[in-house]
């Protein structure tokens, strides 16, 4: 697992990382909003196409990091620019690269002021996000992890809604505060590993158990805030509500996945013993998030808030799957990360489309809009069904795998998780029913037009993935299978030791 297959040919990963940045530079001298939009779309689309080459060349039979590149960066501190993808990160890289063009499309008419600045922010975001998923050097990871906050802060703070300042500062400070201890942990690991920041080297070492627990806690704080896990989620609804559509999509589809990716990439392999010790607590916290998110979503009047709280619940399922530490759970969790990216991203796009027409995110002002937007509500219905795991959609497969893994681990835990699925149906249907039919006091919407061609093109690929993963998820699981198996084999090797060494710590 700790090997890096170098890529002698075209540096594909670097191209994916730096192309958006180059695009941002290209935008600088441009004049005219139209040109900025077109160039951004072209760049993000190119990155999306290039990411397919990644898929074509990916070897599914190995758990090693592929497409590897390594170059010295700050030699004095042995910091390198090292990147590579494995089965855990490839789906996330692909998802990021493929969603970004649609974020540009979704901003086409939504963003009317400072278009150039906005597009630059989006492109810089893309560089940082792809970088985070492929970084194999901890400093590179940390720099990109923090760098991401700035464009996002600007996206919310400049193009956001009425309480944009409150939301952007809360987002920035909350996530920044979480990452401070991560840096401390990184430096400690650096000193333990012969002054190397190379991530695969840090994995599967025998650190002392107290140290492991401390490192785990540092990781946990950073990643749990990012996910966000209950009760660290309060920045999320504020940020979502105020962010423009593209910001919400990026936040929900990609940014949240970094937390769960962090657990998989760092917590499990670097501090496996601590992971085993903490596993029950994290599992129950996940359940709490599923239920809490569901109940809160039920009471929302603001569509974006509703979807934001539903994310808390869905991401609870993901962390549940990860910390089951069995194959169904982890594979289900990775699939569910992709599912949530597709479905929730699409739902935010849908809300954005309503907002562009009614200039309101209130459920009551969208009541009965379905009468005038039949094509739109057809899309919306599919995404809502996928969101609560209707069989035949992607959400069903992910949730089913995670629940199957939960049953295998502990039946009580599984019984506690299932009410979350019922709640999800209740709040999604409440929204759907209101939007499609509404009540007797529907506002007059006869002037509202249905989706235009650009909007249909924006939503259609999301629907494709909802049904594809829902009916034939095998190719997606095949991509991650080898890496997950290797991760679990290594984990099991550590399990026996932990249980005997520190059994007194177990609850």
């Amino acid at each position: 697992m700790d090997q890096l297959l170098l890529n002698p040919g075209f540096p594909l990963l670097s191209a994916l990382i730096f192309l958006p940045l180059a695009g941002a530079l290209l935008l600088l001298p441009l004049r005219g909003d139209g040109a900025c939009r077109s160039v951004s779309l072209a760049v993000t689309a190119l990155v999306g196409l290039l990411s397919l080459l990644l898929l074509a060349g990916f070897d599914r039979s190995t758990a090693a990091f592929q497409f590897g590149e390594t170059h010295p960066w700050i030699a004095a501190l042995s910091i390198n620019y090292t990147v590579g993808v494995d089965g855990i990160s490839i789906l996330l890289v692909l998802m990021t690269a493929l969603i970004m063009p649609f974020c540009v499309l979704a901003s086409w008419s939504y963003i009317k002021v400072r278009v150039k600045t906005f597009m630059i922010c989006l492109l810089v975001m893309e560089t940082a996000m792809i970088g985070v998923f492929v970084a194999l050097d901890f400093v590179l990871f940390y720099v990109l992890w923090e760098a991401m906050l700035i464009p996002m802060y600007l996206i919310i703070g400049i193009w956001g809604g009425p309480r944009k300042i409150y939301a952007s500062i809360k987002f920035f400070l909350y996530t920044l505060a979480g990452s401070i201890l991560l840096l401390v942990a990184i430096i400690w690991l650096y000193r333990q590993n012969g002054y190397s920041f190379y991530i695969p080297d840090m994995m599967w070492q025998s650190y002392g158990s107290t140290a492991q627990i401390l490192v785990f806690l540092a990781f946990f704080l950073a990643f749990a805030i990012k996910v966000p896990m209950f009760p660290f989620h309060t920045w999320l609804p504020a940020a979502h509500v105020e962010a423009p559509t593209a910001g919400s999509v990026i936040l929900a589809s990609i940014l949240l996945k970094m937390g769960t990716y962090g657990f998989l990439r760092f917590a499990l392999p670097i501090v496996p013993d601590a992971t085993f010790l903490m596993m029950p607590y994290v599992l129950w916290l996940s359940i709490a998030g599923i239920i809490y998110g569901g109940f809160t979503a039920l009471a929302q009047q603001d569509m974006k808030k509703l979807i934001a709280y539903s994310s808390v619940g869905h991401m609870g399922f993901v962390t549940l799957g990860i910390f089951l530490l069995n194959k169904q759970g982890i594979e289900g969790a990775i699939l569910q990360m992709v599912n949530h990216g597709v479905t929730t991203g699409a739902l935010f796009l849908c809300v954005g489309m309503i907002y562009e027409r009614t200039h309101s995110r209130e459920l009551s002002s969208a009541a009965g809009i379905g009468t005038y937007m039949p094509v739109f509500v057809t899309f919306l219905a599919f995404f809502s069904l996928a969101s609560f795991g209707f069989p035949g959609t992607n959400g069903f497969i992910g949730e089913f795998m995670i629940l199957a893994g939960t049953f295998q681990y502990d039946i009580v835990l599984a019984l506690a998780a299932i009410p979350g699925a019922v709640l999800a149906a209740a709040y999604m249907l409440r929204m759907l029913q209101k939007i499609i039919w509404g009540g007797t006091d529907n506002p007059d919407q006869s002037w509202i037009s249905d989706l235009n061609r650009r909007e249909i093109v924006t939503l259609a690929p999301f629907l494709l993935f909802v049904l594809w993963i829902g009916l034939g998820p095998a190719p997606f699981i095949a991509l991650m299978d080898e890496s997950v198996s290797a991760l679990l084999t290594n984990l099991q090797a550590h399990q026996a030791e932990t249980l005997s060494a520190v059994s007194w710590l177990r609850p």
Binding site: P231, F407, P473, A474, I477
Partner: protein, 638 residues
């Protein structure tokens, strides 16, 4: 042991494809250019009719096989894998599923044809047929699925279609509320279904999660787990098939168009729960307790439905409560392990109840969407075909020999009596009498006597052929379907029971001749008493009674809806509101806000000393220097 039959996959696929095509046609044209109703009708009916023909073909293919190896299956594609277990989208045709298949596709096709007439002129004609096709496809997946998971796909699919179609006339807020109620109540039931399925998977699913593997491994299931699984699955059935305590959604579901009430909320979807229990007969047969619970809930629901049915004024509501009541009979049947009797009642009920609903639809359309029976009267001359066909349906429902309902109901009551469940039998006979009463109350008030509203009466006219033809076909079914399972006492061979035997784990009680005569005598007596009372009260043209006392209580359905609202719905909303208004801002986000507040306070505190005047800073400097020199002098010991 089993053969492959690839045409199985096409049976659900054809209506699903129809739904897709119709849906796209509707979406593409809903902004102006309209497609003629003829094209929609043609596309809409092709799928169901072809499915029916394929189903007949499957039936003959199955019949050609020896009785014990009547299994045909088809794995359409690999769906997904969980660990070592691979789940396929697989379909299974065995005697049980094929029986269901035949009447679902037949009744489904007839109702599609009927809808061409009933829905004519509806602005969303294409959308309606798209939903109806989608429903039929889902129902066929439910019936044909080769394991609980594939069944679940159909199970949820039919629930969704039911929801969409109940809310179809969405201009009326009440209809949307009814749709929501149906979906949420069903979701509660589904919760039980999912749990039951999960426990089953956890118990014996590892070796294969299709019916045949599960049946082979059923003996490995621990008894307590077996009871748990059976009861939880039954919770799912109470939702979908409207049993106590989850029956409340079905009467409200009558808000949908009448063909929908006939197809989904009478003939097919609501019987899914009975089908499921029969499908899992190998589990229920192992745990008698679970069966008893099913039987008692069933017979109590039958009683409750009949009581409510006696006091309704809306023609569709009467039929809806009758459906609740008849479904109760079916559960009483499968509960006392008479699975074939229960399924046979599902089969005959599909014909006569679809017939009654379609007849009611014909009346409603003739009277320009009036549904109150007290505005009708004397319609038999105006609507002769509707009257005669509905009369056949009513006789079948009321259990008049030799109409189909008599045989199937009698089979259930006989099984209960012969199995020693005298209480269930006694209540069953009582309900049979009540059924005869409320059914003929409807017939007499609507069709006999004098017209109550002259103007309405004068404008009434018989429905077009496209609607009356399905009525006639269904009437033939309602009349003769009973002979398919004629018991030995009438010189029959119980063909349906024998046909179903390989699919069911059934113990046939051996009752004496006396038992059989007692059962038949009880049923006939109940029918005669019920219809006589109805005749005396209503045949001569009664006026709408004012309900008081118990009747008022029953008219208001024992106030169960209000009770549920107070005890269940409001607390649920309250928790949501409490989390949103109190816990989220003050508890969860509290520490974060407190930290931010502390920072701000600290900032304010320090702001006080930053006044901006040079003279103040000069004083600070003096103080600072003094303190420093003091400290220095102390530490250096000057």
């Amino acid at each position: 042991m089993e053969g492959n039959l690839s045409s199985l996959g096409f049976i659900p696929l054809l209506p699903l494809a129809g739904a897709l095509v119709l849906g796209l046609m509707h979406l593409a044209t809903c902004r102006g250019r309209l497609i003629s109703e003829r094209i929609y009708a043609l596309v809409g009916c092709i799928g169901p009719i072809l499915s029916f023909l394929l189903a007949v073909n499957v039936f003959f293919a199955l019949q050609a096989l020896p009785a014990q190896s009547r299994f045909l299956s088809h794995q359409a594609f690999t769906w997904f894998s969980v660990g070592e277990l691979t789940i396929s989208m697989g379909f299974l045709a065995d005697p049980l599923s094929v029986l269901m298949l035949l009447f679902v596709t037949l009744v489904g096709s007839l109702i599609h044809v009927y809808s061409i007439g009933y829905m004519a002129g509806d602005p969303a004609f294409g959308k309606f047929f798209s939903y109806l096709n989608l429903f039929l496809g889902s129902m066929l997946i439910l019936v044909l699925g080769d394991g609980p998971l594939v069944m679940f796909v159909g199970w949820e699919g039919v629930g969704l279609c039911s929801y969409l179609l109940i809310s179809y006339y969405s201009e009326d807020r009440g209809n949307v509320v009814a749709g929501n109620k149906a979906f949420i109540v069903n979701r509660i039931g589904d919760f039980g279904f999912v749990l039951g399925m999960s426990f089953l998977f956890w118990g014996i699913g590892a070796e294969g999660f299709d019916y045949l593997s599960l049946k082979a491994n059923a003996h490995l299931l621990a008894p307590t787990l077996g009871i748990t699984v059976c009861l939880l699955l039954f919770v799912g059935a109470t939702g979908k098939s409207a049993q106590i305590p989850l029956y409340v959604w079905l009467p409200d579901a009558m808000a949908g168009p009448t063909p929908v009430s006939a197809l989904i909320h009478a003939a097919t979807m609501v019987t899914a729960g009975v089908y499921m229990v029969a499908r899992f007969s190998f589990l229920y047969a192992q745990v008698e307790v679970a069966g008893l619970v099913v039987a008692w809930i069933g017979i109590m629901t039958a009683l409750l439905g009949a009581i409510f049915g006696m006091f309704q004024n809306d023609i569709k509501k009467i039929l809806a409560y009758s459906t609740v009541s008849q479904l109760g009979y079916m559960f009483a049947g499968v509960g006392v392990a008479a699975y074939s009797a229960g399924i046979f009642h599902v089969f005959t009920h599909a014909f006569f109840k679809a017939l009654l609903f379609l007849g009611a639809g014909s009346v409603i359309l003739a009277l320009h969407h009036r549904q109150d029976i007290w505005q009708m009267g004397g319609l038999k001359n105006k609507l002769p075909i509707t009257y005669w066909t509905m009369l056949i349906g009513a006789l079948a429902l009321a259990g008049c020999p030799p109409f189909s309902g008599f045989f199937s109901k009698d089979e259930i009551l006989y099984s209960a009596l012969a199995g020693g469940h005298t209480g269930i039998w006694a209540i069953g006979v009582l309900v049979a009498g009540m059924t005869a009463y409320y059914t003929f109350r409807l017939i007499f008030v609507v069709f006999h006597g004098q017209p109550r509203d002259r103007e309405v009466y004068d404008h009434a006219h018989e429905s077009p052929k496209v609607m009356t033809l399905p009525l006639i076909v269904l009437a033939v079914g309602a009349l003769f379907a009973g002979f398919l399972n004629l018991p030995a006492i009438f010189g029959g061979h119980q063909q349906v029971s024998h046909w179903l035997a390989p699919s069911l784990t059934e113990v046939h009680p051996h009752g004496s001749m006396a038992t059989e005569v007692l059962a038949i005598g009880g049923s006939v007596l109940a029918f005669v008493v019920g219809i006589s009372i109805a005749y005396r009260r209503f045949a001569g043209g009664a006026e709408q009674p004012v309900f008081t006392g118990f009747r008022k209580f029953a008219y208001h359905k024992f106030y169960v809806d209000e009770l549920y609202d107070t005890v269940l719905v409001r607390p649920y909303r309250f928790v949501g509101q409490a989390v949103q208004r109190v816990i989220e801002p003050y508890v969860t986000d509290g520490p974060v806000r407190a930290a931010a507040w502390l920072y701000r306070m600290a900032g304010l505190a320090f702001k006080v000393i930053q006044v901006g005047y040079v003279r103040v800073y000069a004083i600070y400097m003096v103080i600072g220097l003094s303190v420093m020199s003091l400290v220095l002098s102390q530490s250096l010991n000057f």
